[in-house]
């Protein structure tokens, strides 16, 4: 895996741990819109009544098999290389451990918040030994436009369109927060030519992979011209990036920013942001990190609101393009609307499936054989 600079492509297949209907449907919607095959090939659901679930892929319905163990799912789908671990904090650790032992699984995304630090640290070390990648815990995931989208990353379809997340751009992004990742998608779509890859590593103290791991990957990806990283108060992650720049492991330009500069105005005594975002040493404060990044040659804005200008400037200096001229828009396949939406907006009508002549719920109160339901209860006919 060391030599590989990208974790996903248009053929990447994933096993989804937990029947999270909305997230899976969003992945399939994205797949359909970029014209690739469904990316979720199996679901692991422990208490599922059925061994499959129906999902839309465009206007067709497809069945995705549900297995009662990860092992079974991976035996039947040996080509699946990604595990989307949507298990709760109670079981995320065990499942990740199990996945690390499976040879076909190369990337594991952990969304649960509240995985004990000692466990998260162990998983991170174990994965690195095996040359595997963990994104998270407490991560929304990430996206490689025109290839693979993890679960809810990017938000609703409209935002994905707005941020041009259907088209591969030339900017690599890595953040802690998932919300800020979306903000950067938006900026990069407006002020550069879009995202090549965006990853949220999560807000935990011991993330499975860190800024530096992904930035080194971005370095090797010829499509990526520059990267953006957004850090938080606390920890040494930003200093590792600085170290990698000094050692020439990273040479491509980076725009970096550490949020939480407000903390200094209040003497560091107030907790801003995630509970884990705490500066144990002066060097871990946002202001100090921003200073250190600047010294190392990272482009550091004066504040978050300077981001758009910096992105534009850097993009234009690296390419001959002026922002806005470069994008040749690709064709995306539009998603059919849901029937309910159309009915709601009076654009379609739907026949009823069956008619019940015994009960009637068209009036204020439901009647059963013409008798209001309250009366049935009051007179205890219901026993």
């Amino acid at each position: 895996m060391n030599q590989e600079y990208t974790l996903f492509d248009r053929g990447t297949q994933a096993i989804f741990w937990n029947l999270n209907f909305d997230a899976i449907q969003r992945m399939l919607d994205y797949d359909y819109m970029i014209g690739r095959n469904p990316s979720v090939v199996a679901i692991v659901g422990l208490n599922s009544q059925r061994n499959f679930e129906k999902f839309f892929y465009g206007n067709k319905e497809i069945l995705i098999p549900i297995y009662d163990s990860l092992k079974k799912a991976s035996v039947f789908h040996p080509q699946a290389s990604v595990l989307l671990n949507f298990a709760s904090f109670r079981s995320a650790y065990e499942i990740t451990k199990e996945a690390l032992a499976l040879t076909n699984i190369k990337v594991i995304v952990i969304t649960a918040e509240g995985v004990p630090e000692r466990f998260a640290r162990e998983l991170s070390i174990q994965a690195k030994k095996l040359n595997k990648w963990i994104i998270g815990p407490a991560s929304v995931g990430g996206i490689k436009p025109y290839a693979f989208k993890i679960a809810n990353t990017g938000g609703a379809v409209e935002n994905i369109k707005l941020a041009k997340l259907f088209k591969e751009g030339s900017v690599g992004i890595v953040t802690r927060s998932g919300g800020l990742l979306n903000e950067l998608f938006n900026i990069v779509s407006q002020y550069a030519d879009g995202v090549a890859e965006g990853i949220a590593i999560g807000g935990d103290k011991f993330p499975g992979t860190e800024f530096v791991d992904h930035l080194i990957r971005f370095e090797r990806n010829p499509k990526i011209k520059f990267s953006i990283m957004i850090g938080e108060v606390g920890g040494k992650s930003e200093y590792k990036v600085i170290e990698a720049i000094k050692n020439k492991l990273i040479t491509k330009p980076i725009i970096g920013w550490c949020i939480g500069t407000v903390s200094d105005y209040f003497g560091g005594s107030i907790q801003f942001g995630h509970a884990g975002a705490k500066a144990d040493k002066a060097s871990e404060s946002a202001v100090q990190k921003n200073k250190a990044m600047k010294q190392a040659g990272i482009f550091v804005p004066n504040g978050f609101n300077q981001f758009p200008y910096l992105v534009k400037e850097l993009y234009e200096s690296l390419t001959d393009n002026t922002v806005g001229n470069s994008s040749q828009d690709i064709n995306i396949i539009d998603l059919p609307l849901d029937c309910e939406t159309l009915v709601k907006t009076n654009k379609a009508r739907k026949k009823t499936h069956f008619v019940c002549t015994i009960s009637n719920d068209t009036k204020e109160e439901i009647t059963y054989c013409n008798m209001p339901i309250t009366e049935i209860v009051e007179k205890k006919y219901s026993n």
């Binding site: 409209e158 938006n186 900026i187 002020y191 609101n305 981001f307 539009d334």
Partner: protein, 62 residues
């Protein structure tokens, strides 16, 4: 683009704007195309919200 999508897109923000205006509250509402902290500059410095670097009008002030 699908017909009527623009309307759908603005619906939620419109809802809060209309409710506030009906109550006689002083309010300005911005879409996600507006940069996240631009409302801070707008509120404190009374700075006009710029429409970004592109000419196309991507910014909606509801």
């Amino acid at each position: 683009m699908l017909e009527g999508e623009g309307q759908n897109y603005l619906q939620g923000l419109n809802k809060i704007k209309n409710a506030a205006l009906e109550l006689g509250l002083d309010i300005e509402v911005y879409c996600p195309e507006v940069f996240i902290t631009d409302i801070v500059d707008r509120a404190i410095l009374n700075k006009e919200i710029e429409s970004g670097v592109k000419n196309e009008s991507r910014i909606h002030i509801v």
